[in-house]
């Protein structure tokens, strides 16, 4: 598997650390109801299809990436720097769904 790093170029999967779904980007406000935290920390769409998840270019540029890819075929559709995300994670994920 090869992950396109927007900075370093396409690199072998072994250079990256995987965190999980981009739900983690959707950090609720401090006073948000417990359900919002449950959704951020635990509950997942977990699609068999296109998803967007978070990868850290650990032995490369130390940037976090949001990678859009297919969990069934392993096809990678694109990646962005988390630091550069213009859109909120929720809206981005909905847009990425099949």
């Amino acid at each position: 598997m090869r992950i396109p790093c927007p900075l370093c170029g396409t690199r072998d999967r072994r250079e990256f650390y995987y965190y999980g779904s981009d739900d983690y980007l959707n950090r609720p406000a401090a006073d948000a109801p417990a359900a919002a935290w449950d959704d951020m920390l635990h509950n997942r769409d977990n699609p068999a299809g296109v998803t967007r998840d978070l990868w850290y270019h650990e032995t490369g540029c130390a940037q976090w990436l949001a990678v859009t890819r297919n969990t069934v075929t392993h096809e990678i559709l694109g990646s962005e720097l988390v630091a550069d995300l213009k859109t909120g994670p929720k809206s981005a994920r909905k847009g990425g769904e099949k």
């Binding site: 072994r14 449950d38 959704d39 920390l41 509950n43 997942r44 068999a48 998840d53």
Partner: protein, 416 residues
């Protein structure tokens, strides 16, 4: 038909013509008292114990592929009861007891082999953590022995004690741990359930769950609608998709776990060995293949196949721990799809829909759980109440913080 050595001899003398089908291929009925979605190990054992323990025989198991086509046939076959947290301790202890009677229970040789499991440790801190675990196992009524370095050497003289990267301080021996023949477990439960009247329906994929006024009424399938008073979702690997049919979003992320088997070799490894520092575990099958594996590939996947970095990591771990396996050749690799939960422990619980029950989140420890999982799921479905040894496996525990996190790695699904 009862299996026995005598029967094998008798059939052999007459050309093996008398063996009957291990199970029927019934057409689905219009309605059942209960439906189990998923004909894997957990689903089949649930059906078996519903019939056996609770007298429910008008039930069906719906399997989208062939019986045992999921993780029950794609694992490294390890059976153990070496957990230390309340919730897991009593559950896996119960499971191991069921394993110990499984052959006579099912009249099917699942080749449960209690050859002993050794968890190696590589520092004082790890030793103390394993001591905590071993003591918890004994407190639970199971067995554990703390080995020092020389004790490990007596059991596993072929490890590289001198040069391995992480020195071997000792190991926790779980004598009752071992392995079993994975497919046989599915087949044994399938045959047992079938003999008690359970309809095992293969090539029947559930496409919808019918709910009316907050109560489950049946399922839609590729072979038509089937009514049911109770429905159990037992589809680890596909839990999120099936639960979504009932409007649920589960605390599950699906991950791939690869495993490997070598060409057949004469007996050389006589235990199950687990090397925590290298995330590597190995045993030798009765056929002679070395069966081994390591960590998840770590990215969410339904592909049932993995990539090379983890393959290589597993092999490197094998080489630093026991370089005598260097010349064994890997014959086949495979990948299972794991329901990874945020604390590494499973869910056996009711859902927000009356009559709909959920069994999921086995992470990568589901094989050894098969007997107790079915036992407890059957209890839950039949009585509506959780079985005592599974009452902590609640779906809402992540929201409430009543976690069962053996690894201590927190709410990151792939770290368990």
């Amino acid at each position: 038909m009862r299996y026995s050595g005598l029967k094998v001899l008798g059939e052999g003398l007459f050309g093996n013509k008398g063996w009957k089908p291990a199970w029927r291929d019934p057409a689905p009925k219009a309605e059942y008292d209960a439906i189990i979605i998923g004909g894997g190990g957990h689903g089949l054992s649930t059906a078996y114990y519903l019939a056996k323990n609770h007298g429910m025989t008008n039930i069906a198991v719906l399997e989208k592929g062939y019986l045992g086509s999921g993780n029950i046939g794609r694992n490294t076959t390890i059976v153990r009861a070496n957990y230390f947290l309340p919730g897991n301790s009593e559950f896996y202890s119960h499971s191991l007891k069921l394993w110990e009677g499984l052959e006579s229970e099912l009249n099917y040789n699942v080749m449960h082999s209690q050859r002993g499991l050794i968890n190696l440790f590589h520092s004082d801190g790890q030793r103390d953590a394993f001591a905590r675990r071993g003591n918890a196992m004994i407190n639970q009524g199971d067995d554990a022995i703390l080995l020092d370095r020389e004790g490990v050497r007596e059991h596993l003289p072929y490890l590289d004690f001198e040069q391995t990267r992480f020195p071997i301080y000792g190991g926790l021996l779980h004598p009752r741990g071992g392995t079993a023949r994975h497919d046989a477990v599915a087949w044994g439960y399938a045959r047992g359930a079938d003999r008690r009247g359970v309809d095992l329906i293969q090539n029947c994929e559930v496409t919808g769950i019918d709910v009316s006024n907050g109560r489950v009424t049946g399922v839609q399938t590729t072979r038509g609608a089937i009514r049911a008073k109770k429905v159990g979702i037992v589809v680890a690997g596909r839990s999120s998709q099936v639960a979504a049919m009932a409007g649920m979003r589960l605390p599950i992320e699906s991950h791939i776990l690869q495993a490997f088997v070598s060409e057949g070799l004469k007996p050389v490894i006589h235990h199950v060995i687990s090397f925590g520092m290298g995330h590597f575990y190995i045993s030798q099958s009765d056929k002679g293949g070395l069966v081994f594996g390591g960590d998840l590939d770590f990215y969410a996947s339904y592909a049932a196949r993995g990539n090379l970095p983890m393959v290589e990591h597993v092999m490197e771990a094998g080489m630093t721990l026991m370089p005598m396996i260097g010349r064994a050749r890997v014959l086949r690799s495979w990948g299972g799809i794991m329901d990874m939960s945020p604390d590494g422990s499973p869910v056996i619980d009711r859902t927000h829909v009356d009559g709909l029950f959920l069994n999921c989140g086995w992470n990568y420890g589901g094989f050894k759980a098969v007997p107790a999982s079915g036992w407890c799921m059957a209890h839950l479905m039949a009585t509506g109440q959780p079985h005592d040894v599974a009452r902590r496996f609640r779906l809402d525990r992540f929201a409430t913080g009543h976690l069962i996190d053996e690894e201590g790695t927190g709410s990151q699904h792939n770290l368990h």
